[in-house]
């Protein structure tokens, strides 16, 4: 992940928080939770990618476990 991208991402996140402040103040607790939940998840993924830790994403589960199974059935057929 390039440094330029990292800087741009941090600026984008901060900008989003500032711009959405008014809307967030009017939102319900569940909506606030969802909004900050997405933000925290993005930050978590960003830090993990920066550190270089591989995450167990659902896509990887499908690629590593389900796709070989589908291929095996295809070959058997």
């Amino acid at each position: 992940m390039s440094h330029v991208f990292s800087v741009l991402f941090v600026i984008a996140m901060l900008y989003t928080l500032i711009v959405d402040q008014k809307r967030i103040n009017q939102a319900t607790t569940l909506q606030k939770g969802t909004y900050y939940g997405f933000g925290l998840l993005s930050l978590f993924f960003f830090i993990m990618q920066l550190i270089g830790t591989e995450l167990p994403m659902p896509t990887k589960f499908v690629v590593y476990y389900v796709v070989p199974l589908v291929n095996a059935i295809g070959h058997f057929y």
Partner: protein
Amino acid sequence: MHDTPVKLNHRQIAFMLCVILTAGGELPLTKAIVSAGKIDGWFAEILPMLYGLLIAGFYVYLYRLYPGQNLFQISRSLAGKWGGALINLVFVTHIWLIIVRDVAVLSDFLSTTLLLRTPVEMIILLYMCVAIYYMNTSVEITSRVNDLMFPLYFLSIVLLPLLLSNELELSRIEPILGHGFAPVLKANYLSYGWFADIVVVGAFFNTIKQPRQLLASLRFGVVLAGFLLTLLMLVVIVVLGSSVTGRLMYPNYTLVEQIHITDFLDRMELMVFSIWLPALFLKITFIMQSFLAGVNALTGNSKNALYGKQIGWFLMLTTIVSFQSISEAFAFGNYGAAVFFLFLHLPIYAMLLLLARWKERKKLTKSQQEQKASEEPHPTEKAQKKSAKQKLPWYVHTSQRTWMWWTNGLLLLAAGVVLAGTLFGDKFIWIGWIGGGLYAVCLLGALFTSYIEMRRTQHTEAREAKIQKADAKTA
């Protein structure tokens, strides 16, 4: 941002569905389908098309029960607060994975063919900035852009055989249907996964008023998508051959590179991709708006602008971390999607259907049945309609249901032709040619009848609106 109800017309829904089903599939799907189906890869869309029509019917059945609601709201109404939330969570997760797949493929395609020195992250970031702008507005805006782009997109695919006429070699598809049923079935299975993307349109049911208009639009969208993908696949095989296509990462790119109109009109691929890439961009934007609608339904939010940006960054980051390499994205898109359909969508659809049937029976009280009887047209009204019929366009003389059965019949006939062809195509080469020809005729016929279905409903709606207006005036 927009508090006024969003309204789309039948044409916009049909074009939207067609772009959703075709635009993403063009890049990774061609290689996978031709690898599986070999020279018979161009028969890969028949079963997914039938599935698409079935799901369109199912969606409209749900919409008739709960008019004015989208799929997420209908799930909530049918399965209750918690059950509905669980179902919606599955739909939203699937839509999220579709976005991740498509953005990953698009960014890789751009970074390997057109923007060689731009980092993938930057391509995704720039793309997301534009997508966030669209997400903060409404699907109406995206549909209008699609209205402008779609005719060009359609022409760019339909004109491919003409543009590549000097490269066509029909012997590359011989023997037609000569390798048995297994390759055709495998290719159809791969296509199935991409047609499961139809769930995205579920988020936009409430943008159209009449259920029959929605049905006609969805049906036309499915058949048009099937036709375009079949044509593209056929041209790829006829121009490049199945073995070359199976080895290429992006066969469609190589295909349009083959276009040479005289000696001075070269590099036509840039022109074609300046149409195909916006279509893919629009597809992903539609899916992102569907994702947003799902999250809105889960949290009871009505304003897109609240989550738009935050969801955009979330999708950008998850796209970057989801795949180690593009081959993983290809494997996920081509083989994983159908698994999602089989193990998640099918049980959920079955459950929703059972719940809907149960609630419908409960709802249909005696008084409603009486009301239905009173809605039967009066004999004088019937006579008036009969006299009015004579001034109407030719396709209005046949009911929408009849046109619908024509489309269904033609597609079933096409499926039957493929089945018969695979049984006897290896023995007699002429059977394969007849089968292929009949298949093409059936597909063209189904495209025509599904279009007429749409025109027929449009005409009926316009007439009913006119009558209502006249009634209001006299009142």
